[in-house]
Symmetry: C2
Subunit: 141 residues, 2 copies
DNA sequence: TTAATCCCGATTTTTTTAGTCAGGTATATT
DNA sequence: AATATACCTGACTAAAAAAATCGGGATTAA
C-alpha cells in the first residue's frame, strides 16, 4: 500500500503554496524547485485547480495560489483531488458492484470500516497543521 | 490510494481459512472457489506461508491452514505479507533516503504520522473480528 | 507587440500488477 | 513400489497504470 507521486507531488505543491500564502501568485517554475519535473507538475496543478483548491493568474507575474485559507484545506481534499476517492475495494465505492463472493463476504465490512477511518484521519489534517507540524496537539516533526 | 488484488485476495484466502479453522487442510482448489484464479492464488499463498501465517500439508488431502489462532492474526500481518510495509513516502521507510526537499520538508512529519496511525488501525483488526464483523465493539457489517 | 505564464490534449515511456505455465517435490493410499 | 494428489518454484508474458513529455494554444502585464 503506497501513495503515487501524484498524491505526493500534489501535497508538496500545496505545502509550498501555503508557505507563501498571501505573497501573490507563485509560478510553476518556483514550485518545481521543490525537485519536481515541471511539465508533470503543471498537469497536477491542473487537477488541483479543477478541484477548487488553487486559483491561477495567467500572464507575466502570474502563477498559482491557494483558493482558500490553509486551515480550510485538508489532506483529504488534496489526496482526493489527485488520486480520486480512497478505494480499498470496488465493492465499497461502486454502487452496483457484483461480487463473486456474494452478499455475506466477510471482507466487505472491513473495507468499509477502514475506508471511513482513513478518510477521517485525512479529514483531520489541514495545511496549517502541516506547517505547524502539529496534529491534535501532538508534535509530529 | 487503493489496494492491489494481492492484498485483497490474500485477505479473502485468510478469511476462508479462518472460517474453516480446525477442519484440516483446505486445498488450493477449494479456496479458489472464492472467485480467484488458482495459479495466481497459489503464488499468493506462498507469500502467506513464507510470512508464517499459514502452514501447508503436501500430498493427497493436503492443503493450507492457519498457523496460529485467528485472534492472533491481524490485518496488518496479512497486508504486510502481501504488499510489504505500508509506505506513503520513501523518506519514512528508507534509512538513508536523500530528499530533494532537504531536512525541513514539512510533509515528512505527516507521512510518518499517517503511517503510524494506519498501521495502528491495521494492527487492531484480527481475523476473529472480521468473522464476527465487529471491531472494538462496533458492528461493521 | 512581446514575453511570461498558464492551459490542454495527445503521446510516449516506464513500472507495476496480474496472471500463466512447465516442471519439480512431497506424501497418502493402494 | 506405483500412482495420483497436492503443494512449490522460478521464469515468463501480457495488460494496465503511473509517470512523464511535448507541441501548440490562450491570456495578460509591461
Amino acid at each position: 500500500m503506497k501513495l503515487s507521486t501524484k498524491g505526493k507531488y500534489g501535497l508538496y505543491a500545496m505545502v509550498y503554496l501555503a508557505q507563501h500564502d498571501g505573497e501573490g501568485p507563485q509560478s510553476l517554475k518556483a514550485i518545481a524547485e521543490l525537485g519536481l519535473p515541471d511539465p508533470y507538475l503543471e498537469q497536477l496543478l491542473g487537477s488541483l485547480r479543477r478541484a477548487g483548491l488553487v486559483k491561477t493568474v495567467r500572464g507575466p507575474q502570474g502563477g498559482y495560489q491557494l483558493s482558500k485559507p490553509p486551515q480550510e484545506i485538508t489532506m483529504r481534499h488534496i489526496i482526493e483531488a489527485m488520486e480520486g476517492p480512497l478505494s480499498l475495494s470496488e465493492c465499497v465505492v461502486e454502487p452496483e458492484h457484483v461480487c463473486p463472493r456474494g452478499s455475506n463476504c466477510k471482507a466487505r465490512g472491513v473495507w468499509g470500516y477502514l475506508t471511513d477511518q482513513i478518510n477521517g484521519l485525512l479529514d483531520s489534517i489541514t495545511l496549517t497543521d502541516m506547517l505547524k507540524q502539529e496534529i491534535k496537539g501532538e508534535i509530529i516533526a
